[in-house]
């Protein structure tokens, strides 16, 4: 029974609990057990089985009382450890916040609990969401449940939402929250054969989410089906007066309007995404994706996004610049780590605390960000990058005059073994080359599984929509899902 339950997704659990096929408590117990058995993946920083049970019991009681169970009623989920959770350690996977228990709950997690979800635990991630392989966490690497055929090497689950992707792919959580600054939902989803959508910037409140790069950070769901993403995104999103960049718009019922019929829709194929270094298997799956969408009724058109090649460099100026300022608050004064050697003054405390508290990748980005904002460099770097960002956004505007949706690969390669890229930050950064442009433009973008490469590793296809048009993205994702028939699951080794 419990193994069957952990194979279920969000929609199946919600509907099954509602129909009385099983109780929410049974579901929570099954996932709690699966989480406990999967310690080897290191997907969780802390587990909260009691919280999952408590939420489940609430749902069961509501059902007994004949009350509405909510959009996520009875569904236990994993919470990326970037979201502040009241009374539960929230670290951003950094030593500098180790032991920090917020007195507040992030808006997104609060929305999910209000919709009936429960928390299995706090998921591991790249430290402060900076990384593409989940190797920068203070709490250790996360392993993907997937392995190359014929190899026992531990593979990267992608990053920064690597704990989320690993847990959902391993079926120790039916769904998880992610955050995406420059691909941190889509790339890990692609690496692990699951779905993940980054909505339009402003759909999900950033209040209570540890900030990386404020103008780019956006939360979204990660799950194994497009329907599950639609349901969970609906529960997460909504205007929040506590976030000045929050969208003051109603949240559509994405689940109800799901349709894989793309008749009359035009799908743009950006020519600039044919880059050197892209795997043949990726290019093949892109061709396959075109065929699937055509089959769903769409017309395929070539489009141009001419500033694509400048997007990644601009991103690696803007994101670190914002991060260098956003992370200034971790200073040892009010909360988190304080390293105060005997007789030290304020400056020594800052230096010692931040040297001990931040990991190498975080320090690297703080240094880059500080540099590009410095007097004499600001115009050449930060201002120039902002201009590029505006041009990238304009590329999309012009492209969307000719199409309703853009299809591209999510990543240039499939997953790689842990440890194989982390000596070379530039190669690591290239992982997000296809994901970053949509982040700079604030557009909704999703990765859906397309198949396996010759090594037996998952590949993802990326769909980018117009601002506020998550529906189009989800619908096209559904069309691919129906045709790809991706039912592969990693073989359990943990």
């Amino acid at each position: 029974m419990s193994n069957e339950l952990t194979n279920l997704g969000v929609k199946e659990i919600r509907d099954g609990v509602k129909a009385g096929e099983f109780t929410a408590r049974e579901v929570a117990e099954a996932f709690n057990a699966a989480v406990a058995e999967a310690a080897e993946l290191n997907a969780f920083i802390v587990t909260t089985p009691d919280a999952a049970l408590e939420a489940a019991d609430k749902t069961d009681a509501k059902r007994a009382a004949g009350e509405d169970l909510g959009a996520m009623g009875g569904v236990p989920i994993g919470m990326k450890d970037l979201f502040a959770t009241h009374g539960v350690q929230t670290t951003a996977a950094s030593h500098i916040l180790e032991g920090f228990k917020p007195e507040y709950e992030s808006t997104v997690s609060r929305n999910l609990w209000n919709a009936g979800a429960g928390m299995l635990g706090k998921l591991n991630l790249d430290q402060f969401a900076m990384g593409s392989s989940n190797e920068t966490s203070y709490f250790g690497n996360v392993s993907s449940p997937w392995r190359k055929e014929g190899s026992n090497a531990a593979m990267s689950p992608g990053g920064s939402s690597g704990g989320s992707s690993s847990a959902v792919a391993a079926r120790i959580a039916p769904a998880a929250t992610g955050t995406d600054t420059g691909g941190s939902i889509r790339q890990p989803a692609a690496f692990t054969g699951i779905c993940g959508i980054k909505p339009t910037y402003g759909r999900c409140s950033r209040w209570g989410v540890v900030a990386f790069a404020s103008s780019l950070d956006q939360a979204g769901p990660m799950a194994r089906s497009v329907e599950d993403c639609a349901i969970m995104l609906g529960a997460m999103a909504g205007f929040d007066p506590k976030d000045a960049t929050s969208l003051k718009m109603d949240v559509p019922d994405w689940e109800a309007a799901l349709s894989s019929d793309l008749t009359g829709k035009k799908v743009g194929i950006p020519t600039e995404y044919r880059m050197d270094g892209t795997d043949q298997a990726i290019l093949d799956s892109w061709e396959q994706g075109k065929a699937w969408l055509k089959d769903a009724g769409a017309e395929i058109v070539d489009i141009s996004l001419p500033h694509t090649k400048y997007a990644l460099p601009a991103y690696y100026i803007i994101a670190p610049a914002e991060a260098s300022s956003n992370l200034a608050r971790y200073d040892g004064v009010r909360y988190g780590l304080r390293d105060l050697p005997e007789g030290a003054g304020l400056q020594d405390m800052y230096a010692e605390t931040r040297a001990a508290g931040f990991g190498d990748e975080v320090k690297r980005r703080i240094l880059i960000g500080t540099y590009v904002l410095s007097a004499g460099f600001y115009d050449a770097y930060y201002n120039q990058a902002q201009k590029v960002r505006a041009l990238v956004a304009r590329d999309y505007e012009e492209a969307f005059a000719k199409c309703d949706l853009i299809l591209a690969p999510t990543t240039p390669t499939a997953s790689f073994p842990l440890g194989s890229l982390n000596e070379d930050p530039l190669t690591m950064y290239l992982n997000d080359v296809f994901a970053v442009p949509a982040s700079l433009a604030g557009l909704p973008a999703m990765s859906v599984p397309a198949g396996l490469n010759p090594d037996g590793l998952p590949l993802g296809l990326q769909l980018v929509g117009k601002a506020f048009d998550e529906q189009m993205v989800l619908n096209a994702g559904l069309a691919i899902q129906e045709r790809a028939g991706f039912t592969h699951a990693p073989e359990r080794w943990w």
């Binding site: 916040l97 917020p102 404020s214 000045a244 260098s324 009010r334 007097a375």
Partner: protein, 498 residues
């Protein structure tokens, strides 16, 4: 033109002054959080999660603070920028939880404006002068460090952290300590009229960064120093005096003035180096990505404009032209919000009590408000309960005086009793016998008596000794115990001695 000059060994030096005034915005809540702004609360009792910069906390602009900045801009006839933006000023300090101050460097909310300082010959301002204001921007205040709570540690109080400030930046248009003092006083007056800042310098609601340089007449501006956080008009003037003389000494002994930030020492009245240009921070300003640009709608601007009260200059002109007050009285009455408010309510009550127009009683009311009433209050010191001195009671005193029912000295006596005991002036005048006698019968009787008893003097008067008229008046008043209406006494005496 100010004739203020520093007399150096090499000749006269002119002083050039610019002021950056930080004014705390009057608002119940902080600039980007809902926390309270009340002064004097227990340390760290008015700190929201946002003010403490907890992870994931976000700023949301407080519309009231924006409104107050816009209204202030309008009050100095400044350009209001419909598009403005917040920038982060990055630096580390223990009183700055975010590690940056949210301010407005590139696109301030208020642009070019101006302020008039009035001629004040006595204090070295020979004529009215317009001082340019470059900009007003809004920004967050920092917290406070307390170094006296523990032998080796410093404590942090974040009550002020995040409180909204307006930084009002003048042009380097002032040329003497007196002009700078007048500028700060006038600015304070305008802020208090508008209600955008309480102007309380002791509580730190207003403080100035004082930029001073010196030059020989006709030369380019010299290198300036900036003295931070000066918190009274007197100190602003002291800083200028000291800095100007110091800079002249430096220059005349062959040195150069360093562009630097200085601190004022209240105890010695001197300034000293805080940090030099080489130590200056690189604040790495950039647009705050947590906040969208601030775009002001026309409706909002109209509402701001409509809510502006009559401002000091307009009020002063109106007091002279419509109420016929002297320039001195008009100026004295319009400096302070409390003063004009008291005057106007007393004026209204007095027109009601006398049935006369504003212009007919304004001078009497102004003299009462500026000199008579404060004199009485001062003379009885602690015994005065000013709460007893309602506008209605004072107006009824003025009305009795207007009708010659009481004399000026009786008015003061009655007011004294009002202050001490809170009784009604009419009743006091009756029961305490503080009323002039205008009853001609009683006065005539008294005069007849006096004339009969002083036949010799009557003869002398009639013989040409006019001065004796005063003697008869005095005798009559004495006989009437000072309560006779002098006009009536004069008239009857004249008739009888004719």
């Amino acid at each position: 033109m100010s004739d203020y000059r520093i007399q150096g060994a090499t000749g006269e030096w002119e002083v050039v002054i610019g002021l950056e005034v930080h004014a705390q915005v009057t608002s119940n809540a902080k600039l980007f959080s809902g926390a309270s702004t009340a002064f004097g609360a227990e340390p760290n009792s008015q700190v929201s999660l946002v003010d403490a910069a907890m992870p994931g906390m976000l700023p949301v602009p407080n519309a009231e603070c924006i409104r107050q900045a816009v209204r202030t801009g309008m009050a100095i006839e400044a350009q209001i920028n419909k598009y403005s933006r917040f920038d982060r000023k990055n630096y580390f300090y223990a009183d700055l939880p975010q590690g940056y101050q949210i301010s407005q460097l590139y696109h301030p909310i208020v642009g070019e404006g101006q302020l008039l300082i009035e001629a004040d010959e006595k204090h070295g301002i020979p004529e009215d002068k317009v001082i340019g204001i470059e900009r007003i921007h809004v920004e967050q205040d920092a917290g406070k460090l307390m170094h006296d709570q523990h032998p080796t540690m410093s404590y942090v109080d974040l009550n002020r952290s995040g409180v909204a400030l307006m930084e009002i930046v003048s042009r380097p248009d002032m040329r003497s300590p007196a002009e700078a003092g007048a500028y700060v006083r006038k600015l304070r007056s305008i802020l208090r009229y508008v209600g955008s800042c309480d102007g309380n310098m002791e509580e730190g609601s207003m403080r100035a960064d004082v930029n001073v340089s010196v030059r020989k007449a006709g030369e380019e501006f010299g290198t300036r120093t900036e003295t931070k956080n000066v918190n009274s008009v007197r100190f602003v003037m002291q800083v200028i005096e000291y800095e100007a003389n110091r800079q002249v000494d430096v220059l005349e002994s062959g040195g150069t003035v360093d562009q630097e930030t200085r601190l004022f020492d209240v105890a010695t009245g001197t300034t000293r180096t805080m940090r030099s240009k080489e130590d200056a921070h690189d604040y790495r300003y950039f647009p705050d990505p947590d906040l969208l640009p601030l775009v002001l709608e026309d409706d909002f601007l109209e509402e701001c404009r409509a809510s502006l009260p009559e401002l000091p200059d307009a009020k002063r002109v109106r007091y002279e032209s419509e109420l016929g007050l002297t320039p001195y009285n008009a100026r004295e009455l319009t400096h302070e919000v409390e003063t004009f408010a008291r005057f106007e309510s007393l004026l209204e009550a007095t027109t009601k009590a006398t049935g006369k127009t504003d212009a007919q009683v304004a001078t009497q009311v102004a003299n009462w408000a500026l000199s008579v009433a404060p004199g009485v209050i001062k003379s009885i010191g602690d015994e005065a309960n000013v709460a007893n001195a309602t506008a209605e009671r004072q107006a009824s005193i003025l009305a009795m005086q207007d009708k010659s029912e009481i004399s000026g000295s009786q008015a003061k006596e009655i007011f004294e009793i009002v202050l001490k005991e809170g009784r009604e002036p009419d009743e006091i005048a009756d029961t305490e016998g503080l009323k002039q006698v205008s009853d001609t019968g009683a006065i005539e009787a008294a005069i007849d008596d006096i004339l009969a008893n002083n036949q010799d003097k009557v003869e002398q008067y009639k013989g040409g000794k006019d001065k004796l008229f005063g003697f008869f008046v005095g005798q009559t008043m004495k006989a009437m115990q000072g309560k006779a209406n002098p006009a009536v006494v004069n008239q009857i005496l004249k008739d009888k001695l004719a």
